[in-house]
């Protein structure tokens, strides 16, 4: 059985229940906020909200950020099934970015998990725009995690960008390919773009998530 499609509350490895606290806060925020765009996912989404791109551009679109560091596909699936999509205001778009932490799953399992989240979003929010930025490469040098994420991207692009595979789940879903031009010619990733070879620097966010912002503006005619 694919673990990515089985909704699961994040493990409380530390013993301080921080993730549950965050989830409860998000459920509360969903009920009370006036936001029209939801960013949901892992640490790369979470840390986006502290970047200049977010503070100066994205937040002006009335966005809310439900990123949790370390979250896996099945954790996000659990969260949206447990109140994080129960918005008082009608959402216009959801930006979903998760999968890089499923390091023990196959690319196809991760892809299926993301597809499951997309289905769940559509079931709950109707024909909302769903934006899927592609997974990012990681590590200073080539490594299996990079290959895994690249492989997930191949599945995502094939499903959502290939007309032949269009169905009710692919409608209004937009893959934004943000994974290009991060790995340099010598196959390394610079710490100027990813300070720890996973998380983006401030300038990294501007470069990598800039196209996501542009896509939102286009879709919402802003």
């Amino acid at each position: 059985m694919n673990p990515c499609v089985i909704p699961k509350l994040s493990e409380d490895y530390d013993g301080d229940e921080r993730k549950l606290s965050m989830h409860k806060r998000f459920v509360q925020q969903a009920r009370t906020c006036e936001s029209e765009i939801l960013f949901i996912g892992d640490s790369i989404i979470e840390q986006l909200q502290f970047s200049t791109l977010w503070l100066e551009k994205i937040s002006a679109l009335h966005c809310i950020n439900f990123g949790i560091g370390g979250d896996r596909v099945e954790n996000v699936l659990w969260r949206i099934q447990n109140g994080e999509l129960d918005f008082n205001v009608k959402l216009k778009a959801v930006v979903l970015f998760v999968g890089t932490n499923n390091t023990d799953c196959t690319p196809h399992e991760i892809f299926e998990g993301i597809l499951e989240i997309v289905k769940e979003i559509k079931q709950r929010l109707g024909n909302v725009f769903v934006i899927l930025p592609t997974l990012l490469p990681r590590g200073q040098y080539p490594n299996p995690y990079r290959e895994r994420n690249e492989h997930v991207n191949t599945f995502l692009i094939d499903k959502f960008c290939n007309e032949a595979n269009a169905d009710e789940h692919t409608q209004n879903v937009h893959v934004v390919e943000i994974h290009h031009n991060i790995v340099q010619n010598d196959q390394t990733i610079s710490h100027h773009i990813m300070h720890d070879y996973l998380h983006l620097t401030n300038s990294g966010y501007l470069k990598v998530f800039g196209p996501v912002y542009d896509k939102l503006c286009t879709l919402l005619n802003k």
Partner: protein
Amino acid sequence: MNTCKLPAPVDDSDGDHRWMSIHKRFVSESREKDADVVFVGDSIVQALQHTEVWNELFAPLHCLNFGIHRDKIENVLWRIQNGELDNVKPKVIVLHVGTNNHANTPEEITEGILEIISTIRERHHDVYIVVPTLLPRGQHPNKLRERMAQVNELLKSKLVNLPKVELVVIDKGFVQSDGTISHHDMHDYLLLTNAGSRKAFEPVHELLLQLLSEGEPEKDLTPSE
């Protein structure tokens, strides 16, 4: 056996080897840059570098930041024993680590921190070592908070007699009267927001200014409480 005192790299046999990449970069940065202050430690230190507070208060003091997300005491110990501080001559080293040692007792964590301090001292006889206290964590009261508080108490008694080692209390003002910690201070109930960073690290900044401006080493510094 106290695992905190056994230097160890982070195990990443099948992964992307990010930890080792970061360590190696720190070693080369220490060769290339002349820093007056080096911060070394865990996620709290790493995250500080990406706040306004860092740009505003610390970057102008010529600081290097050798923080790695999720590092435990034994990982920092390994990094220091493997060259991160061998090619720098800072006036101050700021050390903050321990919150990720979930499996260790307060006594073990304290001993581990003391082990790092003596490892630093072997390499830098005259440097000031500044130790900010460990921060509370979790939205609601929990065992880890209690453990951090116990470590802080132990540190107070153990560090007081060590020459040129300064404990700075930074953990006050985070737990509110109802026992909760606000996400306005710690966005994930562990890592600091800008506002939280300011609250916690302004006292560290003040001490650094004092230490850096000294011509002569001060003999009696009252711990800032």
